[in-house]
């Protein structure tokens, strides 16, 4: 059976959910072979086995974290040359897409990004123009490189052997040109990651200030959700840029998206339109975000949200 290479997204030994989604998808097309860079692979092996990974290639050198993207692409290109996989799956994250881009150039294979589904003949489903149009695309040259949007696939457990195969290749000087000097972490509490979360609560300009974002955080925490923000909020410096949802921010596809004080401009919708359920709080009944709402409250967020938090507290205690 052909191998399907899956680039693991992980933090230390913690496997990110998207990796399990990719492994689940890979099994449909062949043997899921996870490619793990840096530390933590041995410890993560059991988790990968639980979701049906047949193999885990572990390349544990520090160069994969010390230099931007290029070493990972070099490793994947080497594996593609060795194993001739039927398919290479990557998470459609900023970094995943860049690894894929470099890999595409190296192997001459086509790349499709932000894919939300794959049919048996490898036709990929994408949503373009802010979710207005469905597109079916195909790679016609080389081992297809497909970047899958996080949260698009439901991870399903299945027994796998997860046989570890260490990979120790020499990364070229060419791939060691952009050196990471320092990692600056700006975490905001212990919340799930934005693109992985099954619930996202986002605040917009209506929230009014950086301090008031605490209200959004409170609602998020009552639901175990991630916090997001509109561009108006990140532009104003009320919340860090990495939490921005939309065309020039993250694309999220959670089970539930709660938009608070957000008008619903097309660029914002582009990043959240495929959420399964959408709830809205906005004082303007004409706000376009209501067109997407499964449930909407027209009202002042400073009254509605505290009451909602209190009610959630009552019902979950």
């Amino acid at each position: 059976m052909a191998e399907i290479l899956v680039l693991a997204d992980h933090e230390g030994e913690t496997v990110k959910k998207v990796t399990l989604e990719l492994v689940t998808l890979a099994r449909r097309f062949g043997e899921a072979a996870v490619v793990w860079t840096g530390q933590g692979g041995e410890a993560a092996k059991d988790k990968l086995a639980e979701y049906g990974a047949a193999k885990v290639y572990i390349a544990q050198g520090s160069e994969y974290d010390d230099y931007v993207v290029a070493p990972k692409a070099e490793l994947l290109a080497w594996l593609v040359g060795q194993r001739n996989p039927a398919l290479v799956l990557l998470p459609s994250t900023a970094e995943g897409k860049e690894v894929g881009g470099r890999l595409a150039v190296k192997t001459g294979s086509g790349i499709l990004t932000d894919v939300v589904g794959l049919s048996d003949d490898l036709t990929a489903e994408q949503l373009i123009f802010g979710g207005a149009i469905n597109v079916s695309s195909k790679v016609r040259t080389g081992s297809p490189i497909i970047a899958i949007r996080p949260n698009a696939i439901v991870p399903e457990p299945a027994a796998g052997a997860a046989v570890v195969e260490p990979v120790d290749i020499t990364i070229s000087d060419q791939a060691r040109q952009a050196r990471v000097l320092e990692r600056v972490v700006q975490q905001r509490g212990a919340r799930p990651e934005l693109t992985e979360a099954s619930i996202v609560v986002s605040g917009g300009r209506g929230v009014g200030s950086a301090d008031n974002m605490a209200l959004i955080e409170k609602l998020a925490d009552s639901l175990g959700a991630a916090v997001g923000a509109s561009r108006a909020v990140t532009d104003a410096g009320w919340y860090p840029h990495q939490f921005q949802v939309g065309q020039t921010g993250k694309t999220v596809s959670p089970q539930l998206y709660v938009a608070v004080g957000i008008s619903g401009a097309i660029q914002h919708r582009a990043g959240m339109q495929t959420s399964k359920t959408i709830m809205v709080v906005n004082k303007d009944p004409e706000a376009p975000i209501f067109e997407l709402a499964d449930f909407g409250v027209v009202g002042d967020l400073f009254k509605v949200v505290p009451q909602l938090v209190e009610e959630i507290g009552k019902r979950t205690s």
Partner: protein
């Protein structure tokens, strides 16, 4: 310092964007056109770096005749000259093909720094910066929210999920920018007048030295098979808050089993 800034003309995000039924490519004629917004930040950063460190700014754009409007717009913000890559054979190119010709042109111009937007609003692949770095064999400094240059050392803040990385390299390099990096200037009247006299060189695929079989619809490594408008979401329930809005919202969350 030779700075090359990539400028892409895209359909206006607010217009009704669609694909052409005849060949499933972007219908560029049907919508108003504008400079890809992130590229305006790339232009601004290029101009600022040239102002601070000296040097020439060249804009490069691949696109149909009409892309000249966007090139002129860029030149009205500043910069010295532009190259317009225009050839019917390029219609339908994918990211691989686009990066091949852009890299060839940029190589011919010569550069210390290539600056581009980290993503375009039409294709949204976000792979071009990585592909260009790969093809040009220079460091990739992508998702930059800050750029500093000291001699031949370049340091950026690279936006990440957890915050940002400080990344360092030696010039020449490819830099892609996010929109938090600066505030793009508006063209002045003087700038608009001056832009009309700035040289714009036109190039064809043959001029780049790239094999025509690598570009265009036929040369693309991916193809759009079909497309369809997505049905609108079903209208939901909207209630006015008359004192119990939060409670009703909680009821909804219970009914959908979120709490």
């Amino acid at each position: 310092m030779n700075i090359v800034v990539c400028v892409k003309q895209v359909p206006d995000t607010w217009s009704d964007r669609t694909l052409r039924a005849s060949d499933n490519t972007l219908d560029r004629a049907a919508a108003d056109a504008e400079i890809n917004e992130l590229d305006t930040y790339a232009i601004e950063e290029g101009l600022r770096l040239a102002e601070a460190h000296g040097g020439e700014v060249t804009f490069v754009s691949m696109g149909p005749e009409r892309a000249l409007e966007s090139i002129r717009k860029a030149l009205s913000m500043g910069g010295d000259k532009a190259v317009h890559l225009v050839d019917d054979a390029l219609h339908g190119s994918d990211a691989l093909g686009t990066s091949a010709v852009l890299a060839a042109v940029i190589g011919q111009i010569g550069f210390d720094l290539v600056i581009l937007g980290s993503e375009s609003t039409d294709a949204r692949t976000g792979v071009l910066p990585a592909m260009l770095a790969e093809r040009l064999g220079v460091p990739q400094l992508s998702y930059a929210s800050k750029v500093e240059i000291d001699g031949t050392t370049i340091t950026i803040n690279r936006q990440a999920d957890y915050g940002y990385d400080r990344v360092e390299a030696t010039l020449p390099a490819v830099v892609s920018v996010v929109e938090k990096i600066n505030e793009p200037r508006y063209p002045s009247f003087k700038g608009i007048m001056a832009s009309k006299k700035k040289p714009v060189q036109t190039m064809s695929v043959a001029d780049t030295g790239i094999d025509q079989a690598q570009v265009g619809l036929d040369g693309a490594a991916c193809e759009v098979v079909t497309f369809a408008k997505r049905p609108a979401r079903q209208a939901g329930t909207v209630v006015a808050d008359e004192g119990a809005g939060g409670t009703k919202a909680a009821d909804f969350l219970v009914s959908r089993k979120f709490i």
